[in-house]
Each structure stands twice: as structure tokens, then as C-alpha cells.
């Protein structure tokens, strides 16, 4: 240093002059975050907002919801998996549990996600591809055969037909002799983000919301340890949103569910602590950490100050994280191991409660056993080798991280205002507000790639001529006909009278205002198929088609 200056402004000025005098890289790359937030080359104490000391386990939980962070308990390593038939997936689950995984996470195939049976004409070619095919309670029994549901927690990624799959899980537990009150796990059950981003909607928004509230209300009474909803930013982000949009739209969805439950007459503290969240961990390291921290702070404030929740547990935003599927590349797929490790680290430094790390081949197809194990090992390496779990919120107090956390919060609040001006989340969906914002962001990013203002290694730079052929998992096409035969067999061999009675009662209830969960549970117990139960409700609720906004 040339002078020993004391005045902070003067020192800063000196740095600035030296910075500007130094030659800058001329690679033409963006210096903003991947979401387009402009970044300073340096952050200092002057970028910190005035605020009281924040501590983990204390409102507003910016630094974490547990006073002991990962010192008390590590995050749950929860690898999302499921493919082909229930038998095959059951084998994979046993393999993962034997390898040290601590919770299950079920991926369903497209027909199951869209509420249709394997023998529906539009299920052709889709069975068992993106996850496991579940048509009825019989498949669910096979899926968890030999896995005691009282001892594990299970996450189920399903939305429009979520209530049906939850009932199937409860019914399997009944058969195992495990009471519903003992069951732990998470149901994604987040229909709003389906309308916004993932588009796996079936009913129009109003009856869809009714089903969500029905399940929340029912679980508050009967399955109190169950996380009734996993309010998801993951799909919003994967659809191309920015980090701030992911944050804002997800929390806005969360508030919409809270509003709906309150409207039903529930007390906020009776259900708010069972709401959970699900975020993406994208490749822009610091931006992601800031996003997670901001999410906790915003949620705590809104729950306490706007909704008047009294119970501290209602203020705490708990979340699951998955590393970003969209960041993976088919080119030089081994690079995905490195990407996933960095994203997973961001999730951990952001204080996630549970984590899924993507397998390197997931961009090509379903992961092979080997790739799935590598992904899990990446988490174990983070937890047990690197030492990052030893200190709580290790980046707290970083000028940069704190400033970025504040910026995230500011952008989210600005979005809340716009959503409110549009009349709330559902009117904003109907006006295609979210869809347009996301499509714009996705297009902007794609253009940045095309103009090489951003680099994706192996894709638009550092490419290799000949890509190595990697082994991928294939779904045996025979499984399709087996699954079709299976659902037909279930239909042929059940107690028909009991089944059709259950469906008639469900239709009546759907036309009224009763909570539909007990009716769905009864239909499930009677081995009504998922498609039959959905179609019964479609007769009453109708189907939704969206206005396409490009």
C-alpha cells in the first residue's frame, strides 16, 4: 500500500483508483449474476445494511432455523428416484437405504403425475420412463414392500393427484400396521407452481386449491407429522426464471396457500409449521446462498407480522433443495459431477434441511446405479470430509453475501407488490403474468449463451470434437405391457360393488363442500385406480387449459 490512510472513504477511493487503473479482462463475459443482478467488483462494510445482530434459531432466521445448525443434525440426504415398475423401484430403494441414504423420495412416471392409468391411450410410450408407474394401491404395496413405513420418511413428488397418492401411502401403512399419526414425510402437493411453471395441471385453479386445502386440513387432524405441501421454486427455476423470481413466486404461492387455509377457517398455527419449501440450487454460487437466506427472512416476517402467527415454528421456513437439472450438460457429462458438487455446497451453506444431488447422467436419461451412488457420495463428501458443516452459516457477515441477501429480499418484495396489484396469485396466473416473466428470463439467458456473454463449459466453449459414449439406463419396453396387464388385473379382481360405491360417494362429495380426503381414502382402499378416481373428480371439476404465452 502506498499510503497509510485511516479514513475508510479515502482507503476505498485509493482501491477504486487502483482497480480502475488495472487492466480488465476482455473476454466479453457478463459480470452480473446468472439472473442478471449487477455485481460490484468488491463489497465492503459500507454495503451492509444497519440491522440488529442476526443469529441462527432466532427471528428472522436469516442464519438458519436451528440454533445448532448442522452441529445438531446434518441435512437429510434424500435422493429422488423411481423408474419402471414398483418392483424395480422397490429394489432401488432398498439399495439406496443400504448405502446410507436416510429418506426416500418417490419419482412417479408421467401418466401417474397426470392422473391417468397405464392403459389409457395417451400413456403409450410414457410408462415407467420418468419415474415409477403407480395405478392403484396394489402398486403402492409393492413399492414399499419390506420397507417399514414407521421407520423412514418419504417424500412424494406429485401434485394434481397428490391427495390420491397420499391416501395410497396411508393405506399401505394401515396394512403394515402403522397408524397414520406415526407417518412422516412430504407431499409436494403444490398446484400453483404447476399453473406457473411445470404445467402438470388437471383441474381449474379453484377446485385444485380446494384439494390442496382438503389435504392440509385432513393431515393437521390425522397425519400431524406429515409435511402437507412442499411449495416449490425448483420447477419455476428450471422453467427458466431468475433466482429472484424463483424466490418471489414461491413465497407468493406459499402465502396464497396460507390465505386459502385461513379462508377455510383454519388457525394459522395449526398448519403453518407443516408447510415446507423446495428450492433449486443453481450454478451461480453466491446468488443461491443469498436466495436461501433471504427466503427464511422474508417468510418469518410475513408469517409473524402479516399473518400474526404466534407459534415460532410457523415462522420457520424449512426447505429441501435439489441441484439444478438445467445446469447439467449432455456434453462431457462428467462435468456434471463438478457442477453438482458446487451447487450442493451452495445449498449446504444456505442451510438446507434436505438435499438431492443430481446424477451426472440425468440429463440423458434416468440415472444408472453407479451414477446415483456417485451423486449420493458427493453429499457424503460434503458432510464428512470438507468440514463445511462445522460452523453455522459460515458466510454470515460477508459483505457480499449480506448485500446480495438484501437485494434478493428487495426484488422479492417488489414482485409481491406486483402480484398483489394483479389481484393475487390465481388472477396473476390467469393473466399469464408468471408465465410471461419466466419465458422472458429464459429467452434472455438463451440469448446470452448464443452471444457467448455466458459460458457453459463443454457446450458453447471448451468443447471436444468427439463426445464419449456413456452408459445410460434403458427402460425395457416390455414393462409397459406388464404394467398395463397389471392394472387390468387389479380392476378385474377387486370387490366391484365396494369400488363403484366409493366412487359414487366421492362424486357426490366433490359436488358438495365436504373434505374429500376420507372419500378418496375409501376409494383407494377399494382398489379404485388413480385414473378412475381422477376421472370421477374431472366429471365434477372440469379440465383446465392454459392460454399460451410465449
Amino acid at each position: 500500500m502506498k499510503v497509510r490512510a485511516r479514513d475508510p472513504k479515502q482507503v476505498w477511493q485509493l482501491w477504486k483508483e487502483e482497480f480502475e487503473a488495472a487492466p480488465a479482462r476482455d473476454d466479453g463475459l457478463e459480470t452480473s449474476t446468472i439472473s442478471g443482478i449487477p455485481l460490484q467488483p468488491l463489497y465492503t462494510s459500507s454495503d451492509l445494511a444497519e440491522r440488529e445482530e442476526e443469529l441462527p434459531g432466532q427471528f428472522p432466521y436469516t442464519r438458519g432455523i436451528h440454533p445448532s445448525g448442522y452441529r445438531g443434525r446434518l441435512w437429510t440426504m434424500r435422493q429422488f428416484s423411481g423408474f419402471a415398475t414398483a418392483e424395480e423401484t422397490n429394489r432401488r430403494y432398498k439399495y439406496l437405504l443400504a448405502n446410507g441414504q436416510t429418506g426416500l423420495s418417490v419419482a412417479f412416471d408421467m401418466p401417474t403425475l397426470m392422473g391417468q392409468d397405464s392403459d389409457a391411450p395417451t400413456s403409450r410410450g410414457e410408462i415407467g420412463h420418468c419415474g415409477v408407474a403407480i395405478d392403484s394401491l396394489a402398486d403402492m404395496e409393492t413399492l414399499f414392500e419390506g420397507i417399514p413405513l414407521g421407520n423412514i420418511t418419504t417424500s412424494m413428488t406429485i401434485n394434481s393427484p397428490a391427495a390420491i397418492l397420499l391416501c395410497m401411502y396411508i393405506a399401505v401403512a394401515e396394512k403394515q400396521g402403522v397408524p397414520a399419526a406415526q407417518l412422516g414425510g412430504t407431499l409436494q402437493n403444490d398446484i400453483l407452481k404447476e399453473f406457473i411453471a411445470q404445467k402438470e395441471f388437471i383441474f381449474p385453479p379453484a377446485p385444485s386449491m380446494r384439494l390442496v386445502v382438503d389435504s392440509i386440513e385432513y393431515c393437521a387432524r390425522e397425519v400431524p407429522k406429515w409435511n402437507t405441501i412442499s411449495i416449490s421454486g425448483y420447477h419455476i427455476r428450471e422453467a427458466g426464471s431468475t433466482a429472484a423470481q424463483e424466490l418471489a413466486f414461491t413465497l407468493a404461492d406459499g402465502m396464497a396457500y396460507v390465505d386459502a387455509c385461513i379462508e377455510r377457517g383454519m388457525r394459522i398455527d395449526d398448519f403453518a409449521s407443516r408447510l415446507s419449501f423446495f428450492f433449486d440450487a443453481h450454478i451461480d454460487f453466491f446468488e443461491e446462498i443469498a436466495k436461501f437466506r433471504a427466503a427464511r427472512r422474508i417468510w418469518a416476517r410475513w408469517m409473524r407480522d402479516r399473518y400474526g402467527a404466534q407459534d415460532e415454528r410457523s415462522w420457520k421456513l424449512r426447505f429441501h433443495t435439489q441441484t439444478a437439472g438445467v445446469s447439467l450438460t449432455a456434453q462431457q457429462p462428467e462435468l456434471n459431477i463438478a457442477r453438482t458438487a458446487i451447487e450442493a455446497l451452495a445449498a449446504v451453506l444456505g442451510g438446507t434441511q434436505s438435499l438431492h444431488t443430481n446424477a451426472m447422467d440425468e440429463v440423458l436419461a434416468l440415472p444408472t446405479d453407479r451414477a446415483a451412488r456417485l451423486a449420493l457420495r458427493t453429499q457424503q463428501l460434503l458432510a464428512y470430509e470438507t468440514g463445511v458443516a462445522n460452523t453455522i452459516d459460515p458466510l454470515g457477515g460477508s459483505y457480499f453475501i449480506e448485500a446480495l441477501t438484501d437485494e434478493m429480499e428487495r426484488q422479492a418484495e417488489a414482485y409481491f407488490k406486483r402480484i398483489e396489484e394483479l389481484g393475487g396469485v390465481i388472477p396473476a396466473i390467469e393473466a399469464s403474468f408468471f408465465q410471461k416473466e419466466i419465458a422472458d428470463a429464459a429467452f434472455r439467458y438463451q440469448q446470452e449463451l448464443e452471444q457467448k456473454r455466458r459460458v457453459v463449459v463443454g457446450v458453447n466453449d471448451f468443447t471436444v470434437g468427439e463426445e464419449e459414449h456413456i452408459e445410460i439406463l434403458r427402460i425395457d419396453p416390455k414393462l409397459e405391457s406388464q404394467q398395463v396387464a397389471r392394472v387390468r388385473e387389479v380392476r378385474a379382481n377387486r370387490d366391484q360393488a365396494r369400488c363403484s360405491n366409493a366412487l359414487v360417494r366421492l362424486r357426490k362429495a366433490a359436488a358438495g363442500t365436504d373434505n374429500l380426503m376420507p372419500y378418496i381414502l375409501e376409494a383407494v382402499r377399494a382398489y379404485a385406480t388413480e385414473g378412475e378416481i381422477m376421472n370421477t373428480m374431472v366429471e365434477v371439476f372440469g379440465l383446465y387449459t392454459e392460454r399460451a404465452v410465449i
Binding site: 408421467m110 401418466p111 403425475l113 397426470m114 391417468q116 391411450p121 395417451t122 400413456s123 403409450r124 410410450g125 410414457e126 420412463h129 420418468c130 404447476e194 411445470q198 404445467k199 402438470e200 395441471f201 428450471e238 422453467a239 427458466g240 438445467v326 450438460t329 449432455a330 456434453q331 440429463v363 440423458l364 436419461a365 434416468l366 419466466i438 419465458a439 429464459a442 429467452f443 438463451q446 449463451l449 448464443e450 457453459v456 457446450v459 458453447n460 463426445e467 459414449h469 445410460i472 427402460i475 387449459t545 392454459e546 399460451a548 410465449i550
Partner: protein
């Protein structure tokens, strides 16, 4: 590059076949093709092969672009080609995009899909391919 106004723009039906709702890619492609001077008719989600071909015929499209992310491409892409044959409209060119492994690409081309674009394809690559295929605009 503005398209020559004396030439009728090539019309492209873009469709999401299969049950998945991942429309990020197809929407980005739609914008890029529009900006390259093409008329894009977007049919939305969950189109069956019959619906796609019907739309292409009604819209007098020269090209069908299919997008899928659910893994059902080996069933649905050839089904579109078959349906075109059945409706005697084999002059309509079919291309596809999505998560499609290399081996499947070869098999699909053999079954009559003209070209396949996988994640990471630059948008310009799709535009260049179309320009080569339709140098004079619509026939």
C-alpha cells in the same frame, strides 16, 4: 435478417407431444424462429400425434417441430411420421428436440424424423438447418 417479403414465410407447427409440461425449450425455440422470419404455430401441451398432424394440415405448414422431455420420443415421434403417411402428407418435414440419447437419434432418423436437436444446441443451429432445408422460403 428480415425475410424477403415477396416470399411466403415457411410455416412451422411446434408441438409438445407426450404428457410432460416442460415448455421452456419449445418456447425459446418459438421465439428464435419467429425472429428468424418463420411463422410459428404453437399448439400447446399434450398433443397426440393425430392432433399434431391435423394442425399441420389445417395450417398448411411445411414443417412440424416436436418437443418432448418425458422419454416417450421413441413412441411418439415415429407415430407422428406414421400419421403423416396415413394422411398422405409426407411432404411435411418433421424435426424433434428434447432429451434424446445418441442411439435413439439414429433410430429416429431411420424412422423418418429429419433432424433431432438435443439440449445445448444453439438456436442458430436450428435456424441454419431450416434455411438449408427451405432456402427459398415456402414452396
Amino acid at each position: 435478417m428480415p425475410a424477403n417479403t415477396a416470399v411466403r414465410p415457411v410455416r412451422i407447427v411446434l408441438a409438445k407431444v407426450g404428457l410432460d409440461g416442460h415448455d421452456r425449450g419449445v418456447k425459446v425455440v418459438a421465439r428464435a424462429l419467429r425472429d428468424a422470419g418463420y411463422e410459428v404455430i404453437y399448439t400447446g401441451l399434450r398433443q397426440t400425434p393425430e392432433m399434431v398432424v391435423d394442425a399441420a394440415l389445417q395450417e398448411d405448414a411445411q414443417v412440424i417441430g416436436l418437443s418432448i422431455h418425458s422419454g416417450a420420443h421413441m413412441t411418439l415421434f415415429p407415430a407422428v411420421v406414421q400419421e403423416l403417411k396415413r394422411r398422405k402428407a409426407t411432404d411435411i418435414v418433421v424435426f424433434g428436440g428434447g432429451i434424446i440419447p445418441d442411439d435413439d437419434i439414429a433410430a429416429l432418423k431411420q424412422k423418418g424424423v429429419a433432424e433431432l436437436f438435443t439440449p445445448g444446441t444453439p438456436l442458430q443451429g436450428i435456424v441454419d438447418w431450416l434455411r438449408k432445408r427451405f432456402p427459398q422460403g415456402a414452396a
